[in-house]
Amino acid sequence: MTLLQVRGLTKKHDDVGVLNGVDFSLCKGEIKIVMGPSGCGKTTLLRCLNRLQEPSSGEIIFDGEEITAAAVDIQQVRQRIGFVFQNFALYRHLSALDNVKLGLRKLRGLSDAEATQRAIYELSRVEMQDHQDKYPAHLSGGQQQRVAIARALVMDPAVLFFDEPTSALDPLMAREVANLLNRLHDEKVTILCVTHDVTLAKNLPGDVLFLNHGRVEAEAPISELMKNHANENVRAFFEQKAPSE
């Protein structure tokens, strides 16, 4: 069943098209990877999908609702889209536990006890229960990311967006991210993941959406994209990424 359907999505910055008509869909429980050269519009795409940036035109149908309409309560929509940022963006004045609790307290109106219980459960899901009282400044990049994931998951989102989940981590932690995403996928979490990390993409089950100059130029499993693909931009991208393969 389709969870997210995007049609003809464009985004202009001062008349320069960053997204030039993006079409794709995402099914419930699916994991989809967005790849493409730097500056092709990957981050912009994610941010347009929950209207952190306003799209210039196009349709975004999320869970049956057209969410670019002016009348839409976008805050309500955003509560159902978990977003894990490249730099994790934990609230630095709150402990790991309070970072995860904040949404439950402020947006769901849960009691402190209930919120704590749910947050601890979510932190243990990403193996961070032993660090719940630490503040972001005292967590490693990988640990911050796990807290950020718990913070997104605790709201029980219909879909989880990741922007470059491995770019701020060392290679070992990057491999852990693949494991974590696979585990979430097994638990039927729907995921849209932007990355330029070929290793990560190879270790994830979903199709790759290849974005170039704000357009989807290919959509296929990564193995196909890497096998002398018909599109020369795709070939150029993967040759540059993994020249030896």
Binding site: N50, L52, I74, Q75, Q76, V77, R78, Q79, I81, F83, F85, N87, A89, L90, Y91, R92, H93, L102, G103, K106, L107, K134, Y135, P136, A137, H138, A148, R151, M155
Partner: protein, 217 residues
């Protein structure tokens, strides 16, 4: 009359000094906070008004504003009690400086965190109260302490509008006893004690709400 007796007489005035200082600090804190938050709305005409507020209260001497309020307003039918006159002059001057401190501290809040809060579906006001203000207040601590001690040191101006604070008591005492040296020395000691206690209390609060590893990035 011993030095200790002098101090104990002056201490009666200390109550008024503390009252004036606290009243002006509170006025400054809330007017500064309000001004900083209104600046954040970024509405043109409002920005002009706020700039006018900060420039006026930072640019005109305290005594001039104080006299304008205390002696000027009654002449147009608005009598102002001395304490309120202090709040409207010294308090708002403190507020004008604090609004700059707060504005700077608001700028220091990481925009990525604000975007994260927005992406969670938090509304503007929720982001303000849950993220921006708590961080801003912590960033502002050194600037706030600075402004608060300035208020204490300018509080003797309350004497000029008839508040019986330390300096006023001291002056009366000095006139009748002619022991100015000891008396004004005692005044200095008292102000220093109040300053010290105030600072320790502030630092206690600051430590109480300190966050491990939290600093401006």
């Amino acid at each position: 009359m011993t030095f200790l007796e002098i101090v104990s007489i002056l201490a009666r005035g200390a109550g008024f000094t503390i009252l004036v200082t606290l009243a002006c600090i509170l006025t400054g804190f809330f007017s500064g906070l309000l001004a900083a938050l209104l600046f954040r709305l970024d509405i043109r005409p409002l920005n002009w008004l706020l700039h006018a507020f900060t420039y006026t209260f930072r640019g005109i001497p305290l005594l001039v504003i104080l006299f304008l309020v205390f002696f000027g307003l009654p002449s147009i039918g608005l009598p102002i009690p001395p304490l309120v006159a202090m709040m409207l002059s010294l308090g708002l001057i403190c507020g004008a400086y604090l609004s700059e401190v707060f504005r700077g501290a608001l700028e220091a809040v990481d925009p990525n965190e604000l975007m994260a809060a927005q992406s969670m579906g938090m509304r503007r006001i929720q982001i303000l109260t849950a993220i921006e203000i708590p961080q801003m207040l912590r960033f502002s601590a050194p600037g706030m302490l600075n402004e608060f001690t300035t208020v204490l040191k300018y509080s003797p101006f309350a004497y000029t509008v008839g508040v019986p604070e330390i300096l006023k008591e001291a002056t009366s005492l000095a006139l009748t006893t002619l022991r100015g040296m000891e008396i004004y020395l005692a005044v200095g000691v008292l102000y220093f004690l109040i300053y010290k206690i105030m600072m320790e209390m502030f630092l206690w609060v600051e430590r109480r709400y300190a966050i491990p590893g939290f600093k401006q990035i």
